[in-house]
């Protein structure tokens, strides 16, 4: 290290440059992320007159109400069920799609083409994507008709649409791409020579996947998991539409609260959910070093 006697103001200038670099992000994040969160946080401590009027102050009444409600636990269990099921299926599908694209498609142009194909569902809106399931899963839908025609069933399956199954199907349909992209990314960085070296050592295809590919895609899996978990836990729309109102999630419950002007309890639920999500993300980051993925 060379002691720089040239100027004492050099570090402060470097500081200024640093601040300038982050300023665009700060300008976006503060009004659109930090401020709303603070508003929600403040509202969760306010009292309400029950008709939408808020009384500034500090009371834990909303939190006590939320935490004491037996419904809260039920909602969290329902949400976690959806989250875990969606996570498992998106992970399995996402992993194998990425694996296929990276290791089995020799032609790079073809791989990019297939990769873009995965994004096709995103060319249309979420609502249309969900509605599209109705002709397939509905009572008169293709699947029921096919099963009836084959004689496998004698009356239409009701469980296909407007059920928990339909919710999970819609989530998996929407979110698998969020698994594919980061896993594809980390797999694409695996040097093909490592695979060859493993083959040279006598590793089977399964050994290679288990001992080389999975451990080296860990950061991609973790990133995808964060995307999927936070989207599912923060969603109410898919649950509402695909369950036909039969199921609820944490967010759909406080959406109802907002509908009946119970802002402080809605805010308290939101803060609680945020904390739970932060804890889950922190847990994921503790298990997998994602920095490695970002800095590499």
């Amino acid at each position: 290290m060379q002691p720089s006697s040239s100027s004492a103001q050099a570090p402060s200038r470097a500081n200024l440059a640093g601040w300038l670099y982050v300023s665009p992000l700060v300008l976006v994040l503060v009004p659109f992320f930090v401020a709303p969160i603070l508003v929600v946080l403040a509202a969760s401590f306010f009292a309400t007159d029950g008709f939408g009027g808020l009384t500034p102050g500090f009371t834990l009444a909303s939190y006590i109400e939320v935490l004491h409600s037996a419904l809260t636990l039920k909602l969290y269990l329902a949400t976690i069920k959806f989250t875990v099921l969606t996570w498992v299926f998106t992970l399995i599908i996402g992993f194998f799609v990425a694996y296929f694209l990276v290791f089995h498609v020799r032609n790079q142009l073809l791989a990019i083409g297939l990769f873009l194909l995965c994004t096709v569902p995103f060319w249309t809106s979420n609502i249309i994507r969900m509605i599209s399931w109705i002709p397939l899963l509905g009572k008169e839908g293709l699947i029921n008709q096919a099963l009836l025609a084959m004689g496998v069933i004698h009356q239409p399956l009701e469980v296909l649409l407007f059920s928990d199954l339909a919710v999970v199907i819609a989530y998996v349909h929407q979110l698998t791409i969020f698994m594919i992209v980061p896993i594809f990314n980390s797999m694409a960085r695996i040097d093909k020579k490592l695979i060859e070296a493993a083959i040279d050592a006598g590793a089977s295809r399964f050994d290679i996947m288990r001992l080389i590919v999975v451990p080296m895609s860990k950061s991609g899996i973790a990133l995808g998991t964060i995307f999927v978990v936070s989207i599912v836990m923060g969603d109410f729309f898919v649950v509402k539409v695909m369950s036909g109102g039969g199921s609820a999630s944490v967010v759909s419950a406080f959406y109802e609260d907002v509908g009946v002007l119970q802002y402080p309890t809605a805010a308290a639920s939101a803060v609680l959910l945020t904390l739970v999500l932060v804890a889950i993300v922190a847990l994921i980051l503790r298990t997998v070093d994602i920095r490695q993925e970002i800095t590499r």
Partner: protein
């Protein structure tokens, strides 16, 4: 039917990636069990492809690869009992040194205690004991190379294949690791096949040097043979250390012939291994750079030095124990004399001096 013989025979081996051009074009070669064999040639000459075909990472388009008397084409590397050490090593970055070395035993289903014991023994052999728990990224280039070597050697292969093993190292380390490779080869007593593009590396290590060009073997033989007795102009120029001159045969006189065009008086060249030449043939000859003596014009030539060509000094490079003097002796080709340091500085030349480049008749070697 365990067979520990690591002798290799390549018979008419061809490889084409596009179906049109042969990257490896009809290679025939026999490598003795326990030999250290170096394939050498410029990039794209097919040497790495041959290595990968012997390793089982590439299938030949035609021909047979026989290891220990058994045709191994189509067999997996494990069945061939070969092991490869990859260029830039391909160490598993998420595994420690010990786990990297034990990897092959792990996928062979050896128990954890057994494989870690074997790995530790191997780690000791390559002197990495204190680094056993580190990740590859925490090691220096030389240490990584030793891990790669240990990882390849742990399966007790009968043939170890090394793809430019020293190219990622700096000069000093390269010389050091070169010796280590040779030591390991002798310790393991197995066949090593080593691909390189560095002439010095090949002749320093190999029992058998194989010079390649455009998918064909140009010359295969002991290091000294290839260096001192190159078959043709390509090998002579590629291996270095030789001046190559060409001219037409003017006169054939028994065991020698006279080459015209290079010098006014012609050059006397012994026939040596070359069967016959006839007057008018265009012939290349090689003269070792360290066989050329430089004498100031008018002075007596050393006894036995019959050929002499007047030349001008173009450049001088000090190389330590010798001095490299570049001359304009022949119009189109490089002509260089390696003069021992002490001889040179007894009467140093400077650029532009006129000198006689002279050598004994016996030093000239006709090329094919």
């Amino acid at each position: 039917m365990k067979n520990d013989r690591g002798d290799i025979e390549l018979a008419g081996v061809c490889k084409s990636f596009d179906g049109i051009t042969n990257v490896v074009d009809g290679v025939n070669l026999r490598i003795a069990d326990g030999a250290y064999c170096c394939f050498i040639g410029p990039s794209g000459c097919g040497k790495t492809t041959i290595l990968r075909m012997i390793a089982g990472h590439e299938d030949p388009t035609a021909g047979e690869i026989i290891i220990g008397g058994q045709n191994v084409v189509g067999l997996a590397p494990v069945q061939r009992r070969t092991a490869m050490m990859f260029q830039s090593y391909a160490l598993f970055p998420h595994l420690t040194v010990r786990e990297n070395i034990a990897f092959a035993l792990r996928v062979r289903g050896q128990s954890k205690t057994d494989r870690l014991r074997a790995a530790d023994a191997m780690i000791e052999k390559v002197r990495l004991t204190q680094f056993a728990d580190r990740l590859p990224a925490q090691l220096s280039g030389g240490q990584q190379q030793r891990v790669a070597l240990a990882r390849a050697a742990i399966t007790e292969p009968r043939v170890l294949l090394l793809d430019e093993p020293l190219s990622a190292l700096d000069e000093q380390l390269r010389v050091q690791m070169r010796q280590e490779l040779r030591r390991m080869q002798q310790e393991l007593g197995i066949t090593f096949i080593h691909v390189t593009h560095t002439q010095l590396e090949a002749i320093a290590l190999a029992d058998l040097v194989v010079v390649m060009e455009q998918g064909k073997i140009k010359q295969a033989g002991a290091a000294r043979d290839v260096y001192a007795h190159p078959h043709d102009r390509y090998v002579a120029e590629f291996m270095g250390g030789q001046n190559v001159l060409s001219g037409r045969v003017e006169k054939v006189n028994g065991a020698s012939f006279t080459l015209a065009q290079v010098a006014p008086d012609g050059i006397e060249v012994p026939l040596q291994a070359r069967p016959t030449v006839s007057v008018g043939d265009k012939v290349d000859i090689a003269v070792r750079r360290d066989d050329v003596a430089l004498v100031r014009p008018g002075r007596d030539l050393p006894p036995g030095y019959t050929n002499s060509l007047p030349s001008r000094v173009l450049a001088i490079e000090y190389q330590g124990y010798f001095v490299k003097v570049m001359l304009d002796t022949v119009p189109d080709d490089e002509f260089v004399a390696y003069v021992p340091e002490k001889t040179f500085f007894a009467d140093p030349f400077t650029v532009g001096d006129v000198v006689m480049a002279t050598w004994a008749t016996g030093s000239a070697l006709p090329l094919a």
